[in-house]
Subunit: 324 residues, 2 copies
């Protein structure tokens, strides 16, 4: 098995060598800018790790892995316009650094370009992996739309929330593994097990992200505790609290999430108190565990030498706090 | 040969039957809205006409033809955001009727979805036509970026302008024909001749559009004469006039295109006078003719029974005034 460090190295080197056209500058510079800004390269790493489970030669999966990374960065580029985000990975977002028009159009070009990275595959494999990829690409759009819709819906159900994070985040992790496995020669059943592993892992990661924002350790979390609360973000914690609270507390919570008449520190303190009273911490941990176990169950069902799983499992450990 | 009227009927019927998912509503309703708003369905018609030149059975080309129509409508949707256009085909644009965010995201979904319409093809044909399509898709983005860039460039050269309209408009017409021909069984040489035909025809159409705005017959043109002039649009006519004018006239023209201190009627009158003094009418007509002849030359080089061309040629005649 190739180590995940070695795989990350391959990906970083390949990304640096991508040669987009140079004109028009305004179209291609933002693409370089978005791709060079790093991130953990989780998705392409998953593609190559999954491929390596079934084949010693991962060469054919390298370009498709980059395609998925480019697609992911396209979604961030357009999401940042929609969310009016000024910063991404500590740098100006593309629509802030250039303009919204540039961000829309270079995002489009990125998406189109991402498909080209599958063209090294044989026609059969191209058609097969393309179908997997494109179905997921549409689901990611659906997830983003649900997420935006939730901003103006008072009562988002737990089911709807889980569906949203599944579409917006989790399916692309599953698909990265499934495509890698397929290129490596896995049959449909094995590829689907890896898809389920990635999808459930993605859901548990996103829930963990929600959890850490309220109950994390400020030092290891790397962000200020309570950011989601001050941003009125309808996380799993908030949705669960609304579901469990009595009418008075529920009314308070809704008011807290729609007013700016309270300072942030107080707001965080009051909301955390509500969360604690309702045992949201343990409820969330148990939900995280549920999806974590589902993920592991799929992995254990794989018909391969289990010792091969150690590389994927240790890579997953390093990711626990960050999936974006 | 199947008549172009029959082909338009097939396309309209198929478009009405497309069954996108229904949720989230905000993602899919704008797609239905954009597609039902009509237009001449030029690109899918060209796909099927070209296919029919090489095969009596055009069934396999129907879905890819819809894919290209959906892609084209995606570009309009995003272009309308970038151009801040309120109306498209006499109805509110998507970003006006819903919001910019909805228009960005449902545009993305349209683009992703358009690729799915190639999936009825065999793996070999899927890979082959996909490569043609995707190269063009990227060029269309490049053309739109050049067009936006030109707004802030004082001296756009004739060469740059022709390249821009080639990328933004003409290549997709060429590609529609090339993909149709390829699905119909044409070899690469024949398919490329049809591509060149469509590309040069597209350039001549766009130049004709520029021409009609100044020298058209108001009744048959359907729009007010001089719209491009009041919008300060750098058309072929304006670019050519700047190139040929002496320094004084050139300075005047540049000033006219950057001020709002003159009423539109006067502005149109003065600019048309400049165009007339510089013989821009005949220069443009001769350029239109040049591309028209290039297009016809490619068509005549096709290795098919020439009587088959009458359907395409008469369809092209009906289009002379409108390509958008």
């Amino acid at each position: 098995m190739i180590s995940s460090e070695k795989i990350c190295e391959i990906i970083e080197k390949e990304i640096n060598q991508i040669d987009f056209k140079s004109t028009p500058l305004e179209l291609y510079q933002p693409i370089y800018y978005a791709l060079e800004s790093g991130g953990k390269r989780i998705r392409p790493t998953l593609v190559l790790l999954a491929c390596n489970l079934f084949s010693e030669n991962i060469n054919d999966a390298v370009l498709p892995a980059l395609g998925i990374e480019i697609f992911h960065n396209f979604t961030l580029l357009h999401d940042d316009i929609m969310d009016k985000a000024d910063l991404r990975r500590n740098r100006s977002t593309v629509h802030k650094k250039w303009s919204e028009n540039v961000a829309i159009l270079s995002g489009d070009a990125m998406m189109i370009k991402s498909y080209d990275f599958f063209s090294n595959l044989s026609p059969d494999l191209f058609k097969k992996t393309f179908a997997i990829f494109n179905k997921t690409a549409l689901q990611v759009c659906e997830g983003q739309q649900f997420d935006m819709n939730f901003e103006s819906i008072e009562n988002v159900s737990q089911t709807d929330y889980l569906k949203m994070i599944e579409l917006k985040t989790a399916v692309l992790l599953g698909t990265s593994l499934k495509i890698g496995a397929t290129i490596g020669g896995a049959d449909a059943q094995q590829a689907d097990l890896l898809y389920d592993f990635g999808k459930n892992l993605g859901i548990s990661f996103q829930l963990h992200d929600d959890y850490l924002d309220s109950f994390g350790n400020q030092e290891t979390f790397g962000k200020k505790i309570g950011g989601d609360i001050t941003a009125n973000k309808k996380t799993f914690l908030y949705i669960k609290a609304l579901e469990l609270a009595d009418n008075n507390v529920k009314k308070n919570l809704i008011e807290l999430y729609s007013t700016s008449n309270i300072n942030n520190e107080n707001k965080i303190k009051v909301v955390l108190e509500v969360f604690n009273n309702l045992d949201i911490k343990n409820i969330t941990l148990s939900e995280i565990n549920k999806y974590h176990n589902l993920a592991n169950k799929s992995l254990q069902m794989l018909d391969i030498d289990k010792s091969k799983l150690s590389v994927i499992l240790s890579f997953v450990e390093t990711l626990k706090n960050r999936i974006n």
